[in-house]
């Protein structure tokens, strides 16, 4: 990976050589691209060959539509109604300068999968011919122009993106410069009020927000539980499940411009009396009438619940219609209200807290869903919750956004991520370059707030008031590979934390600069920052650079901040693919894996490992087969040295405690949150309950998917078959033939 590290890449010869003439049909050329891509498994260098071939194909396809320069691309897209008058006018006014800035050789920085993703999903297409009408570099320049007031600004942002040093989130890449430029990634909707009209109003908001590629988080904690009396009809409620089924269908029906389906995550507090049915919504067994196959699920957990779990105490479940006050309280006030309602016997029923917690763990293991997110940690440290009534009620679709919501306040966040892989060399991490990148990134994220189109007035008003942004990172694993730091080494922890602090300091300083130029955000007076408290101040041990933070605090007191929140670590699934780096803060999942996307499957291989193996003459067919047979692991391969094995462990082989420790050390510098996936090949309730209790105690605000592995797997087709074990006499041992496949964790005891 590390697409930016090789700027002087030579354009590769086409594998079809001289046959590859103009007379070759598009189908043949497309086939040549795919064939080169298919050879990546043996030779990662083929990825660049395939990318170069694809770049040629794209250039010719665009030329066929009459596009040869950036300005001609914008002109055509505008004529076809795809781009806004403002963007078209800006480009027309500066056509020569902008055309000169476009650097087509920058395409050489793409790996195949990155360019394929750009081609399949990001490039503008002619509405009728469906052919692309921009080249990859036109696309990046168009995104830059959609966010710029001057050519210099556009040049700066374009430069950053074309070097893959920073990329804004997908909605911004899709829509910047468009007629309806919906640039925001996430929307957080408060729970509907406990009434029919409010529920249907929320469905409408969800649909409108989904349409333009936004991900939805929505709470459902205010809706009455099953069996609750409905006064208007003297009937009883069926609880939250039927409503969530409707939401499920609605979300699936929204097709985001053909690019992806809508997606939403529902948050519920675990005192809600329907929580057990909620946890079953994603099961693939049981009555389908009570299942939601598209919705994601998250638990919004107060500390009181975790304390009861620890103490092995009972937990009371309430009907929000009878006990409406819990939703808007957190911390000690929540604890007091909860105990009061309990003492007054207002619960629907009580369950052992550990039984419910165990049920949550089971849901995580079976579906990966039912994310554990912590209400009190989220509120206690949030810059927006200084005043009573301003409450964080949920996180978002990817659990990295924590913002205040209300009945008429839909929280919004605009995201972008720094590619850390471009800020490191084997000699060390380049903090000065990181600061430069962050300064530009924050300015353009702030700009997206003003340039964005908001599908609902609730979202527009809230975003204008708080102006939150979410600057994140990708490629942390690339940094560790480049510097040869194992994920669980003290050096990795130190560097990761230093990077997080540097990003936060620079981002806050830039936001203060912006406040000085343009004014603080309108709700600044309601923030903790206005009271002299910055995010790291909630973590006493966290001041690694006290002088810098003190200076910043003085500056904020003087000029305020342009943004109420600045840092959020999003999953970066798609933009990391474009940039050719590992996702956000994640370890590698496997040394070899395939990506399944809407445009097919692609092999991804750890090129750092390949380079290391090549250096010692060990990148052989046998080793390749062994890696595949090992499910992407190298731990079982004889003859590799221990340092190599330690560095190239996969997420399944790194202690998860280390991932949590890295996340916890980073938390003081992440004023929103992080999309932290956890990995366990063969989860058990005992291991999971220990792990999530540790995460809570470590002060994490949110966690994301639990990743586990299939219990059985396919017989590998392209790896040489193994003959039956010679000593089959012991029939109890007859599973030996599949031994060491980590894809068969239950069968395989060999590596555990």
């Amino acid at each position: 990976m590390g697409g930016c590290a090789v700027p002087t890449f030579q354009r590769a010869r086409s594998p079809m050589g001289e046959q590859m003439t103009d007379s070759a049909t598009v189908d043949d050329r497309e086939l040549a691209v795919r064939e080169a891509a298919a050879r990546v498994g043996a030779d990662p260098g083929q990825s660049r060959v395939a990318a170069a071939l694809l770049a040629e194909l794209i250039r010719d396809e665009a030329a066929g539509e009459g596009v040869d320069t950036f300005s001609s691309s914008v002109r055509l897209a505008h004529e076809q109604g795809l781009l806004s008058d403002e963007t078209a006018a800006f480009v027309a006014a500066h056509a020569a300068e902008l055309d000169a800035l476009v650097d087509d050789t920058a395409d050489d920085r793409f790996e195949y999968f990155g360019l394929r993703t750009v081609y399949d999903r990001y490039l503008l297409r002619h509405p009728h011919t469906r052919k692309v009408i921009e080249r990859p570099q036109h696309f990046l320049m168009r995104v830059a122009c959609g966010l710029s007031d001057t050519v210099d600004e556009a040049a700066r942002l374009y430069e950053l993106m074309s070097r893959l040093e920073y990329l804004p989130s997908s909605p911004t890449l899709f829509n910047s410069g468009a007629r309806r430029p919906q640039l925001s990634s996430c929307f957080l909707l408060d729970s509907p009020r406990d009434e029919l009209e409010s529920i249907y109003e929320r469905y409408g908001q969800v649909a409108r927000l989904s349409k333009y590629a936004g991900g939805i988080g929505i709470s459902w904690s205010r809706i009455r539980s099953r069996g609750s009396l409905i006064r208007g009809t003297n009937g009883t409620s069926n609880g939250i499940v039927p409503w969530l089924r409707t939401l499920d269908a609605s979300v699936a029906a929204v097709n985001q411009g053909g690019r992806r389906k809508g997606a939403a995550c529902v948050y519920l507090e675990p005192w809600h009396a329907d929580v057990e049915e909620f946890l079953e919504l994603r099961d693939n067994t049981g009555e389908d009438q009570r299942r939601t196959h598209n919705l994601n699920l998250a638990n919004w957990i107060p500390d009181e619940f975790m304390r009861r779990v620890e103490a092995d105490a009972d937990w009371s479940l309430f009907d929000p219609k009878e006990v409406p006050e819990l939703t808007d309280l957190w911390g000690e006030e929540f604890d007091a209200a909860y105990r009061r309602a309990e003492a007054e016997g207002r619960y629907v029923r009580q369950v052992p807290a550990r039984r419910l917690y165990g049920r949550m763990m089971r849901t995580l293991a079976q579906t990966g869903n039912g994310w554990m997110t912590f209400k009190d940690a989220a509120n206690r440290t949030c810059n927006q919750t200084a005043e009573p009534g301003n409450v964080v009620h949920l996180s978002n679709l990817c659990t990295e956004i924590l913002e205040v919501t209300g009945d008429t306040e839909t929280a919004v966040c605009n995201l972008g991520s720094v590619n850390l892989a471009c800020h490191v060399t084997p000699d060390g991490f380049d903090f000065a370059k990181l600061r430069d990148t962050v300064r530009v990134a924050v300015r353009f994220l702030d700009r997206t707030i003003d340039r964005g189109y908001y599908p609902t007035p609730e979202a527009a008003a809230t975003n204008a008031k708080w102006r939150p942004i979410g600057l994140g990172v990708m490629g942390l694993a690339d940094v560790f590979f480049t510097l040869r730091l194992p994920f669980d080494s003290p050096e990795a922890l130190e560097l990761s934390t230093a990077i997080a602090e540097e990003i936060a300091l620079t981002a806050y300083n830039t936001s203060a600069d912006l406040a000085e130029e343009l004014g603080a955000h309108p709700a600044f007076g309601q923030t903790r920052a206005a009271r002299g408290v910055l995010h790291p101040d909630h973590f006493p041990a966290a001041h690694r650079k006290p002088a810098e933070w003190n200076a910043l605090r003085r500056r904020v007191a003087e000029v305020g901040l342009r943004n109420s929140l600045l840092v959020a670590i999003a999953p970066t699934a798609t933009i990391a693919s474009i940039a050719g780096c590992y996702e956000c803060i994640e370890p590698q999942v496997s040394n070899v894996f395939k990506r399944e996307t809407l445009s097919g499957e692609f092999l991804q291989i750890n090129r750092y490992l390949v380079a290391d193996l090549r250096a010692v003459g060990k990148w052989t067919q046998q080793i390749r087969d062994a890696i595949k047979r090992g499910g992407g692991s190298i731990q079982h391969i004889p003859g590799l040295d221990d340092e190599l094995k330690r560095l190239y462990r996969t997420a399944w082989e790194i202690p998860q405690k280390a991932l949590i420790d890295l996340a916890a050390a980073r938390t003081p510098y992440v004023d929103q949150s992080q999309s932290l996936n956890l990995f366990m090949a063969t989860p058990t309730i005992g291991k999971l309950s220990s792990m999530y209790a540790y995460a809570w105690k470590a002060g994490l605000k949110t966690t994301y998917y639990l990743r586990s592995r299939p219990a059985t797997s396919i017989a590998q087709t392209t790896v040489a078959a193994t003959a039956p074990a010679v000593t089959v006499g012991d029939t109890a041992d007859d599973t030996a033939v599949t031994a060491c496949s980590l894809e068969n964790p239950e069968i395989c005891e060999a590596c555990q």
Binding site: E30, R34, E35, A38, G215, R260, A263, N284, T285, H293, N296, Y357, G358, M361, R362, A365, T367, G368, T574, S590, F593, E596, T597, L598, E601, F602, K628, G631, G632, P683, T684, I685, G686, K687, L688, S689, S690, A693, S708, R709, P710, A711, T712, S713, I714, A715, T717, T718, V719, A721, A723, P724, A725, V728, T731, A732, D734, T735, V737, E746
Partner: protein
């Protein structure tokens, strides 16, 4: 007592073949349902196919329509009867359920892809009317019939006949006919087409792989218990059987591919089938027959772990059947 001794053994403790029981448990953890597969998203792709590609897809659907039912029939009529260990029969019961899910999946596929009742009827009639499908079906029926009259495996000859049936369904039908069909599905997906079919196929593929592995582990067990059954003649018979299966599947490939499609031709398919047949022989401890290399790079992808995000297709990697109880001091 050996695995193929006639009878109705009911004893699970002590358990003679715990490996079979573990396979049964692992299979349960991988339960999936047809409702989880989104086939509707394939409909726009069908409109994009060329007539030749559409022909291929229709033939595939027709093969799938009856393929798993045939396998299920042999399981009930021939396998369950003779594998005399309750833990092995547990696995076979589970396999039967999985075959039923596959039948349901392919029925749903057929109903989704083919809109006219007449087309649907034709698809099921394919084993009568379409020569390339009929040839494969006749191969299957011949081997079902080969031991249908056997009530007990008393002699070495009868046990060899049983082994041939078992190996036929594992190596030739699930392990070759289905693997051939899956290759077309993944070829389509390598071109970004019919992702719904491919995602359901991932799950079917995983199940079929396990069925095959179970059958081979039965073969391993019998070999350990009664090595004298495995003589040169058996090897010759198995090799001949695989040759016949390759020929039948190749005729199917000629029907599907015609003069060749971009990235897929009967010539490539022949090499792939020979390669797969060699894999099966190697697994059975028998010499390779062909020595052909795999021509399909896209099949390499099927060996590797998937990484999806939820904006795209559903992750098929989660487990059911999780054990243990809440505690706070376990390693993670």
């Amino acid at each position: 007592m050996t695995l193929l001794d006639p009878g109705m053994d009911l004893t699970l403790r002590p358990m003679r073949y715990p490996g079979f029981y573990e396979r049964f448990r692992a299979a349960i953890r991988n339960t999936w349902t047809v409702e989880e597969v989104d086939l509707a998203s394939d409909l726009p792709d069908l409109d994009k196919l060329t007539p030749d590609e559409m022909h291929l897809v229709r033939r595939l659907v027709a093969f799938f329509a009856t393929g798993d039912s045939i396998v299920a029939n042999n399981l009930v009529l021939n396998l369950y009867k003779h594998v005399n260990a309750p833990e092995a029969r547990l696995y076979l019961s589970r396999q039967l359920f999985e075959e039923a899910v596959h039948v349901q999946f392919y029925l749903t596929l057929l109903d989704t892809y083919l809109k006219e009742d007449e087309e649907r009827r034709q698809a099921f009639a394919a084993i009568e009317h379409i020569p390339s499908i009929r040839q494969k079906a006749e191969f299957c029926f011949k081997w079902i019939d080969s031991i249908s009259q056997l009530d007990e495996l008393d002699t070495a000859e009868q046990r060899r006949a049983f082994l041939l049936n078992l190996i036929c369904f594992a190596a030739c039908i699930e392990g070759l006919f289905f693997y051939g069909a899956f290759a077309y599905v993944y070829w389509l997906r390598s071109r970004g087409l019919l992702n719904g079919l491919a995602s359901g196929t991932n799950w079917v593929f995983r199940d079929e792989s396990m069925h095959m592995e179970f059958a081979f582990s039965v073969v391993d067990t019998v070999r350990a218990e009664e090595p004298e059954l495995f003589d040169d003649e058996l090897t010759a018979q198995v090799t001949e059987m695989l040759e016949e299966a390759v020929a039948a599947e190749l005729a199917f490939a000629h029907d599907l591919c015609g003069d060749g499609l971009p990235g897929m031709s009967a010539t490539d398919m022949r090499a792939y089938l020979e390669y797969v047949a060699d894999q099966r022989l190697t697994r059975l401890g028998m010499p390779r027959r062909y020595g052909t290399a795999n021509p399909f790079a896209f099949m390499e992808l099927q060996d590797v772990q998937e990484l999806s995000n939820f904006f795209e297709r559903r992750v098929s990697a989660y487990q059911v059947g999780i054990e243990g109880s809440v505690s706070f001091d376990e390693d993670f």
